[in-house]
């Protein structure tokens, strides 16, 4: 049991914290209200190496470990949850599977520019009829010579409106169910790739997502990730990593909410004393701090296991489930501590409350995490 971070992990965390304080926190409210994608700030984040934190330097990444990556996402999300998920998707859902399953040729074209942050990636798994039950894919890819002809619809695609590349899941054999799923990597400029207007969401409003139609889109067979039928395995193993990113994002949101509530409690007075003098408030803050610490330990453990190269499905699910539900609860308490001000768009508390809510839904709902955990429990 070693409690300290490495020099490198600490350095990245501190750099991200400083960056978030300077470049994200002061603007996050505005971006949220205006539903504006913070392209400029992202560019600066990419300059810090946040495009591919755990991608090897050989392929344009920062070459750090997943613990460092989780710490970075937490810090970024504390500044702006939307930016947090934009980065998490590029790192975990796009770069990670390309690095793991891509050929050298694919990596050259589809990994290096993304890990460097010159381009942005997204992940196309969810469909209108296939969310938690991801094996119910209806987007088809039919092989015609050395290309595949892709038709179908994906939705809730985070980064979809702005992404340059996509890791896309399709059915190459509908009769085989999960075993008929095949993954591709391609540019969003491919003819037949039709993005729809951005979704209007409850929270993470500065992170654009959209529905995408594929109409007779031709994808060369050389852009297939892995073999035909490997798609489901690729998707699930990718999500094991993605859940670490979302767990970290949730903690970042929760921490922002906690810190603001703590600071507010010291200046807001009721009955002649700062409300932080009332046990009702103190104990809420104590529980928030405790649960956030527990959540971070779960997330870092999952990241650490990923770094050891061992299976971490259960630990990732636990981390994501616990961190996201904690973030929700913490953000709720933060609104409560702020009272009426917590309900006002003047303060950040209400944004954290809206932003936190998604973490229990995307990259596997809380219910799916419980399915994963209990399946392993009952094995």
């Amino acid at each position: 049991m070693q409690i300290d971070l490495t020099e490198e992990q600490r350095l990245l965390r501190d750099t991200c914290r400083e960056f978030a304080d300077k470049e994200l926190r002061p603007h996050a409210k505005k971006w949220d209200h205006e539903h504006r994608f913070p392209a400029e700030a992202l560019k600066k984040a990419f300059e810090l190496g946040l495009g591919g934190v755990a991608v090897s330097t050989e392929w344009g990444g920062a070459g750090m470990d997943n613990v460092a990556y989780a710490l970075a996402i937490e810090e970024i999300s504390r500044g702006c949850a939307s930016t947090g998920v934009t980065l998490s998707v590029n790192n975990s859902l796009y770069c990670d599977p390309v690095a793991k399953y891509g050929t050298a040729e694919q990596k050259e074209r589809f990994l290096t520019p993304y890990a460097r942050g010159e381009k942005l990636g997204c992940f196309g798994l969810t469909e209108p009829q296939a969310g938690s039950d991801a094996a119910e894919q209806r987007t088809t890819a039919v092989k015609k010579g050395d290309v595949y002809l892709v038709n179908g619809t994906k939705n809730w695609i985070t980064n979809g409106p702005v992404a340059d590349g996509i890791v896309l899941f399709t059915m190459t054999d509908l009769s085989k169910g999960a075993k008929g799923i095949t993954a591709f990597v391609l540019e969003t400029s491919t003819p037949g790739f039709l993005r729809q207007k951005a979704d209007d969401k409850l929270g993470i409003c500065a992170s654009p997502s959209c529905t995408i139609f594929f109409e007779n889109m031709e994808v060369p067979a050389s852009q297939r990730l892995g073999n035909e039928g490997d798609g489901f395995k690729i998707a699930m193993s990718t999500l094991d990593g993605g859940r670490i990113g979302i767990g970290a994002q949730a903690i970042g949101i929760g921490r922002a909410a906690f810190e603001e509530a703590r600071d507010y409690s010291k200046i807001r007075k009721t009955f002649d004393v700062p409300i932080s003098h009332h046990q009702a408030i103190q104990f809420m803050l104590a529980d928030m701090a405790t649960e956030l610490d527990a959540a971070r330990l779960l997330v870092l453990r999952a990241a650490w296991l990923k770094d050891q190269g061992v299976r971490h499905t259960r630990e990732s699910s636990m981390a994501k489930l616990f961190a996201s539900e904690t973030a929700h609860r913490v953000a709720d308490k933060a609104v409560q501590i702020h009272g009426g001000m917590g309900y006002s768009k003047e303060m950040d508390a209400e944004r954290h409350f809206r932003d936190a809510r998604i973490t229990e839904i995307y990259e596997g709902t809380s219910e799916i995490q419980r399915v994963v955990i209990s399946n392993l429990l009952f094995k």
């Binding site: 049991m1 070693q2 409690i3 613990v67 703590r262 409690s265 010291k266 932080s276 046990q279 103190q282 104990f283 803050l285 104590a286 529980d287 701090a289 405790t290 649960e291 610490d293 527990a294 959540a295 330990l297 779960l298 870092l300 453990r301 650490w304 296991l305 630990e315 636990m318 489930l321 616990f322 219910e367 995490q369 419980r370 399915v371 955990i373 209990s374 429990l377 009952f378």
Partner: protein, 380 residues
Amino acid sequence: MFEPSESQRLVRDTARNYAQAVLKRIAGDLDRESRFPAAQLAELAELGLMGVNVPEEYGGAAAGAVAHALAMKEIAQGCASTAVTMGVNNMVAETICRFGNEDQKKRYVPEITSGRFVAASFALSEPQSGSDAASLLTSARRDGTDYVLSGSKQWITSGDRAGVLIVWARTEAAADRPARGISAFLVEGGAKGLHAGRHEDKMGLRASSTVPLTLEDVRVPASAMLASPGDGFHIALSALDGGRIGIASQALGIATAALEESIQYAKDRRAFGKPIGDYQAIRFMLADVSTDLAAAQLLVLRGAALKEAGRAFTREASMAKVFTTERANRACDVAVQVHGGYGYISEFAVERHYRDVRVTTIYEGTSEVQRYVIAREVLK
């Protein structure tokens, strides 16, 4: 980062093997008969578990605070009553090692670690002084080269079995700063004037001994004082920081036992044509329990690792205790629910776990005191 070391694993496995082979089998009987596990405690001493974090020169295993936490969890998984007795023994031995002089350490610590003293006690609480420990009233009056102790103590684990007790008493009636007038003394079991009252009839932990004590002019030499006059409160709080990790580990052990029994039961018990473990209602409850316990384990290990590194860990110990004990209570409640009617009868261990775990949010600092400590730290 998150894996125990080789030597920590060794201590954990030693405790696990003993708990599973011996304690688990007899825990139900010990509970029903309110029988103090004297023989088992002696065996734990032989295994080196009565001074896990005590230097070797005093008979300890010198395995550190993390190993101690792991061992406590394993023992509690077998028998929670045995675990709390072991936990208090370790806490007393550690406290003497930390604050005692050489004579005191040589005289008492090897007795505890070897098992020659079946138990040791930590006599802080009083009938009117629990969470507010600084309000204690037991007095220590100087009389020549001696101190004479008078007063009452309450909820003293192993109080009638202890070879040595750390007794907190007031050497000064400081009205303004009550904590500063408190000193700690080493009192030997059987000392003249030290009377143990009747065993408390408790909801759980029925195989551990809990008694009130009366000190009727108990005379001890001045050399029986731990550290200096007025150091008592600091000694108590610092011992409790460590103790809280021990109690959190105990709660984790009880809850882990409850979870494992629930999984097994859910596989065996059928309803509407299939095992109840096939229903999401049951599976999700247990998924939450196992997630909570994983988080709790990490909080406990973090607290223990900080302690082992000699760093500040007050806040982390309180977080570990409040989180673990409350989630462990929930875990045992879920276990009873999963067992249905069978969870309510003493033939099944979960009924005992449910009673045993309840005290963990109370002793060695209630959840409310933990929240007070954490809030003070986060609002600094």
